[in-house]
Structure formats: C-alpha cells, structure tokens
Symmetry: C2
Subunit: 190 residues, 2 copies
C-alpha cells in the first residue's frame, strides 16, 4: 500500500471518529464521512468495502487505541498519573471542541443502529471500554489495591468520565467534569 493510499485511509478513519464524536452514529453515513475526509466515495468504498459498519468499527478501535497508548505510558508512573492523564485528555477534547464534540466510543455505545444489523462497532466499543478499565485496574492492583476493588474503581473512573463528558456537552460548561475529576482523584491510593 502506497503512503498516499494509506493517508487517505487514515483520513477517512479520523473523519469518522470526529463525526461520531460530534453527531453520533446514526447521523454518520459513508457519504458524509467521504465528504468530511475529502475522499472520493469510490475510493472510500475501496478502502472500506464493507461500508459504514467497517469504517465505524475501525474509527472506534483507532480512537480507543490512541487513549490506550497515552494511558499505558502515563500509568508507568502510577495509577494517579494515569488518571490525571486520562482526565486531562478528555477535558482538553471537550474544551477544544467548545463542547460540540465528545467521545466517539460513547456515541456508538448509546445508539442502536437504525439501518444495519451488524454489531461489530458495538463490540469494538465494548473492547475499548474493557481495555481502558483493565489498564487502570492493573495499575491500581500494582499499588496494592485488592483485585475486586481495583476493578470497581477502574469501572467507576471510565463510567464517570464518559458520563461527565455528556453532562458537560449538555451544560456547555466544564464544571461537571471538574467536579467529577476532583471526586475521582480523592478515591485513588496516594
């Protein structure tokens, strides 16, 4: 695959993640993705022959991996550093979009598709959430938190962060995110 073709493919994945984060799953079509990525429709289908379900699945997996890589790096300095990074990343996303976009994984999770029966995108969303939780829980356990409590705390962190993104978008304010983040920080072992 030439660099040029690979660039197009990545541009389509990125445009899809952005559309999901802003407008959600059922407002995202191959046509609007291609427009946003400035990729001809034929070329878009060439890269993603299975259509929307395929590109959405890849966008969710890609977005999840971006966060996951960040998290893996920061967690080397402990669960607290990982949490700070995870929170900072989503806070910055909200502020940069002026609350008009949030998390593409959340978008896929809360909308049953109208048009397609496939569950690949939803499965990809589940895998992303599971991965983030596993990374956080692993770091907490490494700091002496018991496995069940570490798993619970990791789930609370991911759930509360995703929920806070929704609250902030509705309120067009970062206040709910900051209150949530302060609470989560209190819960971590020092």
């Amino acid at each position: 695959m030439s660099l040029r073709r690979s660039d197009t493919r990545h541009r389509v994945v990125l445009a899809t993640a952005q559309m999901l984060a802003q407008h959600g799953l059922n407002a995202t079509s191959i046509r609007t993705i291609a427009q946003r990525a400035q990729s001809p429709l034929g070329s878009t289908y060439h890269h993603f022959p299975e259509g929307k379900q395929q590109v959405v699945t890849e966008a969710v997996t890609w977005a999840g991996a971006q966060v996951s890589e960040h998290l893996a790096q920061q967690l080397q300095a402990g669960a607290g550093a990982g949490l700070r990074d995870f929170l900072a990343l989503w806070r910055e996303t909200l502020l940069r979009a002026d609350f008009h976009a949030g998390c593409p994984v959340l978008a896929v999770a809360v909308q049953e598709p109208l048009d397609e029966a496939g569950t690949q995108a939803l499965d990809a969303a589940a895998q992303v959430f599971t991965q983030w939780q596993a990374q956080l829980a692993g770091a907490l356990q490494a700091q002496g938190v018991a496995p069940e409590q570490a798993a619970g705390l990791a789930t609370l962190i991911v759930a509360a962060t995703e929920g806070a993104i929704a609250l902030c978008r509705a309120e067009r304010s970062i206040a709910a995110f900051d209150r949530t983040a302060a609470q989560l920080r209190q819960l971590l072992p020092s």
Copy 2:
C-alpha cells in the same frame, strides 16, 4: 383539550423518549415518532407545531421529571435510599430493554443535531442533569456533608450512572453497572 387528544399527545412524548433511548437523537424524526406512537402525522404536528425540536425537548423534560419524582420520594428516607432508587431504576431500564435502550437524556446530550440549529432539547437535557444533581446534593447536605463535597458527590453519581449505562449497552451485560453502583454506595455517609 379532550382526554383523547391529551392521550395522543402523551403517546407521542412516550414514543419519542423510547426512540431517543434506543436509537438516539439523529435517528429520531417526526415521521418515525408518529409511526411508533400510532399517531397520524397531521395530528402529531397539530400537537407539536414546532416539529422535532419541540417533541424531543418535551420528551427529555418528561423523562427527567419521571426520575426526579421517584428521587424526591425516596430521598425523604435519606441520600442512601435515593441513590439506591436512582440506581435500581436505571438497572431495571437496561435489563428490561436487554441493553438495547438506555437514557433519552444522555442520547440528546451526546449528539449535535445535523438538521436543526435549535438548542432547546440540549437545554432541557442540561436542566434534567442539573435537577437530579441538585436533589442528590440537597439530601447529602441534609445529612451533614459539606456543600462543595455534596455537589461533587452528586455530580459523580449522575455522571457515573449515565456512563455505566453506556458501558453496559456496549458490553450487553449489567456487570459494569453493578461494579459502578457498588463503588457509589461506598461513598455515601452511613
């Protein structure tokens, strides 16, 4: 307004809340709402002359009020009883829908409309989230929690519950909700 006309109106609001909870904002149109509510399109527009934005706004407000009324009753027995009821209500919603539907307020919060510029529905979502948080924070304060901590804890509860709904829908399992709920219960004053 006759009882019959009022019934139609309520059926449309209910169908809208259900569609939002399952398919999200951008998959919900006046036409699909009317079909689901078994209300003729003309009659639906008669009740909601401003169209989709009006009926979505009313559905979000209605759904928020249902939860709010429950919460107000249960909070009379303390913050713990209120939290238990809030969690039980969403847990039941997820299980009843077999994870194919969640929260209509969350759905509106995370999807920028493609077609309409109005922000009434988003404002309604913000009001609902604010109302739930205020009720929980009030009960926590009444039990001696300092105002800032009560506000933070109330936001964490709402954010984590909404986020857990998304995690469970992706994973088609109640496990993440139960882990989140157990963590939240640990945080309340006994």
